[in-house]
Symmetry: C2
Subunit: 321 residues, 2 copies
């Protein structure tokens, strides 16, 4: 009982998470999110029993229709404050226009009117399991949701990835919410939906909503520790200096080993002519987004992160008690 | 010695395989073939030691440049006799024009001028290992090459798939050669190159060329049996009758189990609302191309094949002995 009282005394009171957005199809060929959003939109009305207000959004309907990542430019790079405040016309790229529509619907970013939490559904060809990708390593709501998923998801590894970028430079849709993350799940080829990946995403979204409902109802969530992977840098493929074509693939020893520590000297690439190229960094780091299909054009063969343990406080909703 | 003489006496003498074409990038986002062809084109001249004449072709350079399957229409459906003899103009789809260019370069299909063997490199998102896909179940050259790959490739399952279609209706690039097959390797996401898949393809091509060189030099290849998978039918995804959108994914119990016998009543799809749909056929058949990314638009969730054992004779080149 004393421990219980202490928990409450030391807990952080946070505003309720009243308005949630679940978005998919931000990249039109990441199909688990596309079909999950379609399912939710179908059930709308039929199942209005969720005790939290959830808006479900198909972010890029044109790209989804064509089953491509984007039509003119990558929508999920259009949400910086600068881009959101650039005047657009009919001649602007479709995704520039669409990002401002989404910002009007779910934001405005940085304002009190923004949704409380924005969960944007993504898939990757990399063997990343389920990752919550955020811009903050001390967002207690996101970190508690991550802890909840880690506790509840038996067969899917769940990790918390932190992009260390100032919020006004944050470029992705999830940055429009007061809290937000990309829920990134793989491996799944783009343009393909794999049942197990779809189910994991469905489970992740449901567990997130369950947590929010419990939080809003006054449940105290005990603090603890969460491993946070903070991005340090990206590494490009070896390329031909003239044609800029890649000359090597990710090494078989590294492929699919996302979040397994990469040491200096470990094999990183195997060139098409058979030469092994090694990791030349001085610090062992955690690779992820290894051989993500959509990042060839961005010059990213993998990202590297440093891992730290973050202590999170017990939290409860400030609207109750 | 008597066995040896008997082997020669019963062997079939076949014309030498003097001119070989190795094609890749027929689908521009199937990257193992694209990079294999680029590598071969780079080494051209530097390594003119192959004792057989090999022409290496990037089949669809525009699609390859954009990393898409095709620009206007699927090139690998443009090689029927009817399409090859359709007059084209500048207004024709790029791939219609390109198919006739390739037919002029490597064919004409059905003529004595056609290359002796055309190997067209493909990748699939399905877990198919290496397949030689052909239009004949009694092409001794293709079957012997398959047997050679099965014998020599330690870590890759090698199978022979037969599309039971008359040759003039055969629609794919490999049908332009006197002998020909698609060398299809997976699983690999489209738009991604995985090192192990690239290496398997490289090994498959090298073993094919080795076999041809030995064959042309007068080696007798002993006959035997090869399993042939003949396509019976394709099965589409369950779809919404109005929107035509898919309403289910391949069942987790079937996903990745290409060439594992599917029995009547076995789970086939898991709907997005959680319902299991079962295989309703009366005959146990072998599924392949399970959940191939490029076939959503073609209405194919998987293909089903019947397996038979085909006896192939001993063969040698008729130019020697």
């Amino acid at each position: 009982m004393e421990r219980h009282n202490n928990l409450w005394r030391n807990a952080v009171a946070l505003p309720a998470v009243s308005r949630v957005a679940v978005c998919g199809g931000t990249h039109g060929n990441e199909l688990a999110g596309v079909y999950l959003v379609r399912e939710r939109l179908k059930r709308r009305g039929a199942d209005g029993t969720e005790p939290v207000s959830v808006v479900t959004v198909m972010s890029n309907p044109r790209a989804t229709q064509l089953c491509v990542r984007y039509v003119e430019t990558d929508l999920n790079r259009c949400f910086t404050q600068a881009m959101l405040s650039t005047p657009v016309s009919e001649a602007s790229p479709y995704e520039m226009i669409r990002s401002q529509e989404l910002n009007a619907l779910l934001g405005p970013k940085g304002s009190g009117q923004a949704v409380d939490l924005l969960c944007d559904l993504h898939n990757t060809t990399a063997n990343m399991g389920l990752c919550l990708i955020t811009y903050s390593d001390r967002d207690w709501i996101c970190l508690h949701i991550c802890k909840h998923l880690q506790r509840e998801m038996a067969s899917t590894p769940v990790r918390y990835v932190h992009f260390d970028i100032p919020l006004n430079e944050a470029y992705s849709l999830d940055s429009v919410g007061k809290h937000g993350f990309a829920m990134e799940i793989g491996p799944q080829p783009h343009g393909v939906v794999r049942s197990a990946i779809f189910s994991a995403m469905q489970e992740g979204v449901q567990l997130m909503l369950d947590w929010i409902c419990q939080f809003n109802s006054g449940t105290l969530f005990e603090g603890g520790w969460v491993d946070v992977y903070t991005t340090v840098k990206n590494i490009d493929y070896p390329r031909d200096p003239e044609t800029h074509e890649i000359t090597a693939a990710v090494h078989p020893d590294l492929q699919d080993r996302d979040f397994c520590l990469l040491h200096p000297g470990d094999p990183m690439f195997l060139s098409f002519s058979g030469e092994t190229l090694r990791y030349k960094g001085k610090e062992a780091l955690y690779p992820f987004f290894i051989n993500e299909g959509a990042y060839y054009e961005k010059g990213i063969a993998l990202s590297l992160a440093r891992k730290k343990r973050v202590e999170i406080p017990s939290v409860h909703s400030e609207t109750l008690r």
